[in-house]
């Protein structure tokens, strides 16, 4: 490619100005760390959303390895008005993957900043750089025989704690609400300054990873799902690995059981009898994760009929709903809580308990047990084979942990998905008082017809849920502006006031969560 003639440019930046910026980046980072050739950028354009790849094509990628380099990068960006989209491991599948919010943004790839800076086995804390993966951290704990365990999302082996936590992702252990377990951030601001949150700014302090709040306003939250700074270090808490972990499943026969399940589980979860982020997964989620393909049961497009779902449930020995939870502690503690759980289930008159001894190495129990025990795997990617074709978007509305609310959301989502010829593939991840209702909108991205249906479907899901007072907690880059509207005008004005104060040139990830000084209208 002629370096004077870039195929893709940032919004409002000329060829000449962009080339000057590229030369400044090359001088700073070295030529090999400024990727501009199409064959170097192609990996960043692989998306799962139902929009054209070209809409999310980057103009270049910068590979930084030190905080100092990141500081210098933002200075160059300010000079030439270059917008950068920062990624840590770029494994945000179903939310935009590694691609930027919109065409032309320069990716700042921090994968090579992958140092595990500090792990304290007594205080059970860690401090890592953005490129560290959960797999890398897991290996570190194993190799050093540290009795600590990780909590991670399903793409555990190849994704990382900084990216997941900064996007407020969740996992499946008692530490599953990851942002709640975050403690101390280091951020490069748009003006090049380095901010450490919490206790991190105190000279000589050693409490950065143990005390979250520091003094005055606690700032960490405003940097998550946001574009006010670039996280270059993050601290978080690790759970001590208990002597006993007892994963188990409760299987329910009928789709209509969801309300009773939630009512049954909520007291156990709030009282911490069951301490982890319990999952209530529907039949298709579990079938997909166990490598069942739709093509084994039917051909042609359209929603999978309930009769087929029942057949799969029967053939694969699954429930219409499958609850996964675990108990943690000493044998005595686990025994006490196991008695409470089993008696509660028995008293309810429905639900079949399956223990690890009964399930053995069968999927999906095995990978669920591993996720609840801090052992990485990628088994849940089996979901992508249900329809095939590489299309996936997470629709993730928040719900109260109430049976009638979950039933209402499930019914509404299934109706809309089926109307567009798609399937309800959903799970509820139980927080203390909330539910992350996570629905994988799976479609065949090689089919233009199904891709267009998926796009329309996602819009309708947002619209119809909004009418009922529901909103998603996180969304892919193609729908960020739309979802920001759900949260009201005052929040948006405040967000943009902060953006103007901290990043007046709008260089940090414009468009993230709908925050973009160029396009926002009061």
């Amino acid at each position: 490619m002629n370096e004077q003639n870039h195929d893709v440019l940032p919004r409002g930046v000329s060829q000449q100005e962009f080339q000057k910026a590229i030369e400044a980046f090359q001088k700073l980072l070295g030529d090999k760390n400024v990727l501009t050739r199409p064959e170097q950028l192609i990996a960043y354009t692989k998306i799962m959303m139902p929009v054209d790849d070209a809409e999310h094509a980057p103009s270049a990628t910068l590979v930084a390895t030190t905080v100092k380099q990141v500081q210098e990068v933002v200075k160059i960006c300010n000079t030439y008005k270059i917008p950068i989209w920062t990624i840590s491991t770029g494994r945000n599948f179903g939310y935009g993957s590694a691609a930027p919010h919109h065409r032309g943004q320069v990716i700042l790839d921090l994968k090579k900043m992958n140092k595990i800076i500090h792990v304290d086995p007594e205080l059970c804390t860690a401090l890592v750089e953005p490129g560290v993966t959960y797999g890398q951290l897991y290996d570190y704990l194993q190799e050093n025989n540290l009795p600590l365990m990780l909590s991670f999302s399903a793409p555990s082996a190849i994704a990382g704690p900084v990216g997941n936590t900064m996007d407020r992702g969740v996992g499946y252990t008692p530490y599953g609400e990851h942002f709640m377990m975050q403690c101390g951030m280091e951020l490069v601001l748009a003006n090049g300054e380095v901010l450490r949150t919490g206790m991190g700014g105190v000279k000589g302090d050693n409490s950065w990873q143990v005390f979250k709040w520091g003094y005055g306003p606690t700032l960490d939250g405003m940097f998550t799902q946001a574009n006010y700074g670039i996280c270059t270090k993050m601290g978080f808490w690790l759970m001590p690995r208990p002597p006993v972990i007892k994963p188990f499943e409760i299987r329910y026969e009928h789709e209509s059981d969801i309300a009773d399940i939630v009512e049954l589980l909520r007291p156990l979860r709030i009282t911490q009898v069951i301490p982890n982020s319990v999952v209530i997964a529907n039949v298709l989620w579990e079938a997909g994760s166990a490598n069942v393909r739709r093509s084994e049961y039917m051909t042609g497009r359209g929603a999978t009929p309930d009769s087929v779902l029942k057949q799969i449930q029967h053939d694969k020995n699954l429930g219409a709903w499958n609850v996964y939870a675990a108990l943690y502690g000493t044998q005595e503690q686990v025994d006490v809580n196991w008695k409470i759980v089993t008696e509660t289930i028995k008293k309810s008159g429905k639900g079949t308990i399956i223990t690890q001894e009964e399930a053995g190495d069968t999927q999906p129990f095995k990978y669920r047990a591993e996720l609840m025990s801090g052992v990485p795997n990628l088994q849940e990617f089996g979901l992508y084979n249900w329809r095939g074709g590489g299309g996936s978007m997470w629709f993730a509305p928040v719900s109260q942990a109430r049976g009638n609310e979950c039933d209402k959301q499930k019914t509404l989502a299934k109706k809309i998905l089926n109307k567009h010829g798609l399937d309800y593939v959903g799970e509820f991840i139980v927080g203390w008082r909330d539910m992350h209702h996570v629905i994988d909108v799976l479609y065949d991205r090689t089919s233009r017809e199904e891709t267009e249906s998926a796009y329309r479907c996602f819009h309708e899901l947002i619209n119809e849920f909004e009418k009922e007072g529901y909103a998603v907690y996180r969304v892919n880059t193609a729908f960020m502006e739309r979802v920001a509207q759900s949260y009201g005008p005052v929040k948006r004005r405040v967000e943009h006031a902060i953006k103007r104060a901290l990043d007046p040139n709008n260089i940090l990830a414009p468009g993230k969560s709908g925050i973009d000084l160029d396009t926002f209208e009061e």
Partner: protein
């Protein structure tokens, strides 16, 4: 059930205590301002194609999620293409994630493997 036997627990606690004692003896008190560029090891660098396969590819290609790619004499150029472009649901991996050198080593490793025993 995951069960750590008592003697293992004792051994681990002893090992950790020793490690900690030594660490405290050698290192100054940990402070936020010192949290720079230190690397405890396991630096995230791949140690060859087999390592990349085990830590990335194998999670899907040895478990029935992706097709088996061992023992098929797949040319390294094909592996390179799929890793960089992705394929349907398979994600793409850019250079900072898997370098050109590691990708070459990965391709050679996969080409030389024998089929997995069923």
């Amino acid at each position: 059930m995951f069960f750590l036997k008592d003697d293992l627990v004792v051994k681990r606690i002893f090992t950790i205590s020793m490690t900690l004692s030594m660490a405290l003896f050698i290192l100054p008190a940990y402070a936020a301002e010192e949290a720079v560029e230190r690397d405890l090891g396991n630096s995230g660098q791949w140690s060859g194609g087999e390592n990349v396969y085990a830590k990335v590819c194998g999670y899907c290609h040895d478990t029935g999620i992706g097709p088996s790619i061992k023992g098929r004499q797949l040319p390294p150029e094909y592996i390179t293409h799929v890793v960089r472009h992705g394929f349907r649901a398979m994600p793409a991996f850019p250079e900072p994630y898997i370098s050109n050198e590691d990708l070459k080593s990965l391709g050679q490793y996969i080409q030389q493997t024998t089929p997995e025993k069923k």
